[in-house]
Subunit: 192 residues, 2 copies
C-alpha cells in the first residue's frame, strides 16, 4: 500500500519510521477511473495526491481548446501549486489518463505537519525545489526549441510519455496541433 510512497520519499528525504507512519496516517486513498477529474478549473485545490499507480495530466482550457501542461506517472505528486498555496480558484483541470490509484493529503494536514515537524518542512522545500527545476526546463524548451526538437527530446527523455499517452495529447503538450505533430513525424520518417 505505502511501498511506492516510501521509496519515493526516501529518494528525496529519508524519514524515520515514526515520521513516515505519522505521514501515512494522514493519507486517504482514492481511485480515479480513466477520464475522471481530480481537479476542475474554478475549484480551489485543497488536496495534493501521490500517484500509486496510473497517470494524470493537468491542462488548461482556452477558447474550447485543451493545452496540456504536464503529465504525471506513479511516484509523482500532483496538484495545482498556485491554487493549493494561495487558496485561489484553480485555472487548470487535472484528470486521469488511465485508471489511477491515489494517496491524498489535505492542505490543512500538510500545513500541520510543517508546523509540527521541521523534517516535513524540509520535505516541502525539496519537493518545491524539484518542481521549480522541472518547470524551468519546460519553459526553456518552449522558449527556444522548435516543436520538432521538443518531440525528439521527449522520445529520449520521457519514453513513458511516448508509450502511454495518445499522440494528440503529446501534440498539445509540445505546443502544436495534432495535424502538425503528424507532419513532424512524417518529415522525420522521410528525411532520415
Amino acid at each position: 500500500m505505502f511501498d511506492r510512497l516510501k521509496t519515493s520519499l526516501d529518494q528525496l528525504l529519508p524519514l524515520s519510521r515514526e515520521e513516515f507512519i505519522h505521514f501515512a496516517t494522514l493519507l486517504t486513498t482514492r481511485r480515479l477511473a480513466k477520464h475522471e477529474l481530480f481537479l476542475r478549473a474554478g475549484e480551489v485545490c485543497t488536496h495534493i495526491a501521490f500517484i500509486n499507480q496510473g497517470c494524470l495530466r493537468y491542462y488548461y482550457l482556452k477558447d474550447g481548446n485543451e493545452f496540456n501542461g504536464q503529465f504525471f506517472f506513479e511516484g509523482a505528486w500532483v496538484g495545482d501549486y498556485h491554487s493549493f498555496l494561495t487558496g485561489q480558484p484553480s485555472v487548470q483541470y487535472i484528470d486521469a489518463l488511465e485508471d489511477t490509484d491515489l494517496l491524498i493529503i489535505k492542505r490543512t494536514d500538510l500545513q500541520m505537519l510543517y508546523d509540527e515537524h521541521p523534517r516535513f518542512e524540509r520535505f516541502g522545500r525539496l519537493l518545491a525545489e524539484n518542481v521549480v527545476i522541472g518547470s524551468q526546463r519546460r519553459t526553456a524548451s518552449l522558449l527556444f526549441d522548435t516543436p520538432e526538437e521538443r518531440y525528439l527530446k521527449l522520445i529520449v527523455d520521457r519514453p513513458k510519455v511516448m508509450e502511454r499517452i495518445p499522440l494528440h495529447h503529446i501534440a498539445s503538450y509540445l505546443g502544436v496541433k495534432p495535424e502538425s505533430l503528424s507532419r513532424i513525424r512524417k518529415r522525420l520518417a522521410d528525411n532520415r
Copy 2:
C-alpha cells in the same frame, strides 16, 4: 543597507530581530556594472543574490542566439535554481541590465541556516513555492498565448519591464525575434 531586504522578507515570512541579524551577517555586497555577468553557463551557481537596486536577466544561448528566461528587479532573488541545488554546471547566463547592487549569500551558508533553524527552512520552502507559481504561469503563457497576447499581458502585468528593458530583450522574452515584435506593435498601433 538592509531595509529593502527586511521589507521583502517580511512579505514572505516575518523573522525575529535575532533571526534577521543572523541572516544579514552571512551576506556580502557586490556591485555589478551594466552588462557584467553574475553567472556564466558552465559555471556552478554557488551563490544566490538579493537585488538591492538594479535589474538582471537570465538567458540561454543557443546557436549564437540569446533567449531571455526572466527579468529581475530590486526586491527579487536571482540565481540558477538547477545548478544551485544540484551542483551541476549552469546552462544559463545571468547579467546586469543596469548598474546593480546585490546582497549575496553562499550556498553552504544557506544550507547551514536551513540545518540550524527551521524558520529558514520555511523561508526556503516559501521562496521555492513562489518561484514555482511564477514559472508555471510563464510556461502556460508560452504554451497557449500568442506572442501578441503575451506582449499585451506584459504591458499590464509588468510595467517595469516595459519601462526599463530594451524591446529586443522583450522580444526574446516573448519568444519572437525583434522584427516580429516590431510588426506586432505596428499591427496594434494601426488598430486591430
